[in-house]
Assembly symmetry: C2
Homo-oligomer: 327 residues x 2
């Protein structure tokens, strides 16, 4: 069975929980807007990460479902608000929430999803002290995700971005929610904060690898693998870690050529190819790949300390999938 | 000592808690945007309601401070997002958050305030089972507030609004957060859910009275009392409960005249006076006043059941102030 099918199988309980929570009630426009993005699909990587971590440490994964579903709802709330902030019309091929329901309702839908997530955590059947810590940690994580998004907004106004700062931005914006999944899963599975923190670090690493691999894949994979045109980051002039790394490694004419291609809105396929060649020649592409695989290894080493189990095996497959997918 | 001075005195601990939480850190733009509205002042009615309810039922009001501050932060998060949704440039004479920091950062600042509120509740020193209930109830309340805001948005597209539905909208949008203050205060003070729910209802009533009194005051009080031009709701054509009531009580030429004044952007003082006369003659103005005072009485009857104490006396003064201020 492929990992994709296994993931879908594992996510069934969370899908059910999401559908139960996101029923349409009055005022309908608000609840339809809330359900729009979360029920449009998704791999449910964060919930599955929470369940598998819980099971790997010896806990009952079913007890992690409400928390796991809450993280998915939080992930979706950030997507809905990010699309408003970035004025993006599409989200994974689906119309953005604000495109369909308008800006005021999209903001409200995000807020309500956020609130709902805390209702889900508060109603989950875990000990009250664990519940308190899940609430505190999740709220803290959302605040840090907002810091990451603010850093990203700030970067757009800057000519050059320091690669270290950029890495901190994606750590906050993308990775720490994976961290919360593993952290909460471990706590629900009966582990103490210290061990849960180790597993949080594991998931943060794989979250970083996941994001960096995404940049790498966009420049190197075929359109069939990506499900979108290859090199779309380059076409959009996005300052990914790969691009920032390339800009810090190139000089003079090559650097200027790369900038020209990134800033041009009407690139041909050969322009995109040329940009990839520059990023490859300066070593940025290879550096990116190595960095992603390095994070993956760190994560794999952490889970290797746990006794063999079906959950550990599947978690390992999940980590591999997140960082080496498409190649 | 006037009630205003007493309120300011009582709110000192919450002010301190807010200042401690809302320190500026990196990324500065985000934290400055978060602090902008909450630290611009305010009467802190919700926190004081929580503290006084806690004390009236025999609890230690200091233990309610983190929860009380969290409610104030939630109130401010809704103000920041509401101003974005309504594209309002001013909030109580201060520039709206998005006017100063831009739309993306204002959305983020609201989200982060929301998250912070749950960190504050999670870190407060109350029993874990009470904490869980505070989290569940507060998250539920925020979701209901969003429902109220969505109803308000929907009403803007409608010709006429049913007064009952309008009342439900302000119950959600304005009153239930006062309800949470009393509910949480009672729980922290050691009372069970049933008694806390009675006190929640008390605060919802006073919240309704507060809002309806606001409409009444705008039409009847002088500019000095209001601190803004009298009749500004009429000038802006706002569909307040008073206006909805008047529209349901008038017919033909009077109703048309009232609608004409409300929809006109360049009203003279005598137009505004004429609108007030129509609202007075049809009985809407008096009905509004009676409704507000009826809610106040319901609230006062609930707290009269408690033994005499400084907290009860001050809570009664707070209720009186909220519903009869300016007259």
């Amino acid at each position: 069975m492929s990992i994709k099918i296994k993931l879908a199988e594992k996510a069934k309980d969370v899908e059910k929980a999401l559908k139960n929570y996101l029923v349409i009630r009055e005022p309908k426009k608000l609840y339809e807007a809330m359900a729009h993005i979360p029920l449009a699909g998704g791999k449910r990587l964060r919930p599955v990460m929470a369940q598998l971590t819980c099971e790997m440490v010896g806990g009952n994964g079913k007890r992690a479902i409400p928390f796991a579903a809450a993280l998915e709802v939080i992930h979706n709330f950030t997507l809905v608000h990010d699309d408003v902030m970035d004025d993006d019309d599409l989200r994974h091929g689906v119309s953005a929430c604000h495109t369909v329901y308008g800006l005021p309702t999209a903001i409200l839908a995000g807020d309500s999803l956020f609130a709902y997530a805390f209702e889900m955590i508060a109603e989950s059947e875990v000990e009250d002290n664990i519940k308190s810590e899940l609430v505190r940690h999740t709220a803290y994580t959302v605040r840090r995700i907002a810091e990451g998004q603010q850093m990203d907004i700030n970067f757009e106004e800057e000519e050059t971005v320091d690669p270290e700062l950029y890495l901190e931005m994606i750590r906050l914006k993308t990775s720490i929610l994976f961290g919360s999944a593993a952290y909460g899963g471990a706590l629900i599975g009966g582990k103490d904060n210290e061990e849960a923190n180790d597993l949080r670090q594991m998931a943060i690493w794989v979250g970083l690898g996941f994001q960096i691999w995404d940049d790498y894949l966009d420049a190197t994979a075929s359109a069939e693998v990506l499900g979108k045109p290859s090199g779309s980051d380059i076409r959009q002039g996005k300052r990914t870690l790969l691009v920032i790394e390339a800009l810090s490694r190139t000089k003079n004419s090559e650097r200027n050529e790369l900038i020209r291609i990134l800033d041009d809105n009407s690139n041909t396929d050969s322009d995109v190819k040329r940009a990839v060649t520059i990023m490859s020649d300066c070593g940025a592409l290879d550096n990116c790949r190595k960095q992603a695989l390095g994070y993956l290894n760190g994560a794999k080493n952490t889970i290797a300390r746990y006794p063999e189990s079906d959950a550990r095996t599947m978690l390992e497959e999940l980590l591999e999938y997140m960082v080496t997918r498409g190649h």
